[in-house]
Symmetry: C2
Subunit: 207 residues, 2 copies
């Protein structure tokens, strides 16, 4: 996994701040500045934590005034790299892959899914047959950095090997399996069954 000096937990809150502030900007445009107190109340975080987090991305808070909403949005976007477009491809366009492929919430974060591949024939437009040759073509026209794996777990490693050989930087893995990749490639596992089972066990343990 790539090393990054950024606190992991902070990284998970950044998109939350950004989404929240964009909402504020849209729905309460009169509010040009915002205090850490208000943010912390609305997002149910500690007030100090909010200030500390924001100080990592932006040092423009003023006493008695708070933070400039638009400035904050810009800094958060810069931090996340929303302005440099990053290209992704989806492998496996079954139900879940198709949902990801068509999801339009990624653009806001500067991420564009430029191609989808599958081994099976299907009726989704613009989906190509998965083969190294076909995937290579899109690598030649776009700087693909993220591969999104939505194939069954039996096929996942094989697909990932192809992407690695083509120079992928990061993998977003929905297959419930631990992928083997070189150390410099970042893998984020997203196992929906895990998430739901955690919810379920929390209900169990609270009874």
């Amino acid at each position: 996994m790539l090393q990054h000096a950024v606190a992991k937990t902070l990284l998970y809150r950044i998109p939350m701040y950004l989404e929240y502030l964009m909402d504020i900007h849209e729905n309460e445009p009169s509010l040009s500045h915002i205090s850490s107190k208000k943010i912390s109340t609305d997002l149910e975080l500690g007030e100090v934590q909010v200030r500390k987090d924001l100080s990592r991305v932006c040092d423009k808070g003023k006493p008695k005034i708070g933070y400039n909403v638009l400035e904050l949005i810009t800094h958060l976007q810069d931090y996340l790299g929303c302005n440099q477009i990053q290209y992704a491809i989806v492998i496996g366009v079954g139900k879940l892959g198709s949902a990801i492929y068509h999801y339009d919430g990624f653009k806001k974060y500067g991420i564009e899914i430029v191609a989808g591949y599958d081994k099976k024939e299907n009726d989704i437009p613009n989906i190509q047959f998965f083969s190294k040759e076909n995937v290579m073509k899109v690598f030649q026209t776009h700087r693909i950095e993220i591969g999104i794996i939505c194939v069954p777990k039996e096929e996942a490693q094989e697909v990932v090997d192809v992407l690695v050989s083509l120079g992928i930087k990061a993998i977003w893995n929905f297959a419930p399996i631990r992928l083997k990749v070189p150390k410099h490639i970042f893998v984020q596992n997203e196992n929906l069954a895990y998430s739901l089972s955690i919810i379920s066990s929390i209900i169990n343990h609270s009874q």
Copy 2:
């Protein structure tokens, strides 16, 4: 949110251990016992952490031998409550909701999705029109504990209010919005755009 004395981070590793051990059991049935060393190597965790985690769910490790695979699986399943079936419903059966609704990986964890609702007409079988009256019916025949929210963010709060009024215990929220619920209801937010943006920013920061 409900309090639960369980370490949060441990809870996130439990399904991982379980999945891993079930794989071992299936593919290497000759391996009746397993050491913390092997588990930690395969799952890329600390050896001590594995022992500590496992000691929370099972105290049957033997020096020189390791843990009995089947015993461990049983304990992990008990811990997660896989054996008591919990019922869930999905609200919003667009692309993502439909993927969740049809996903068959939940059964293994004792979770069964028994109904799906939407406001729009659609061609997915067994999906009902979302209204308090219709949802109430399923609450009368099943002990529904988990509501899975896959509607657009504008409709999410309204849907959740209905579920809360019917006595839901937990919400798995895919809508990119912070839901307002009574304190005793557990909400797990699952924002796919956040996840992808985090991956993207990790790539950014490592360059």
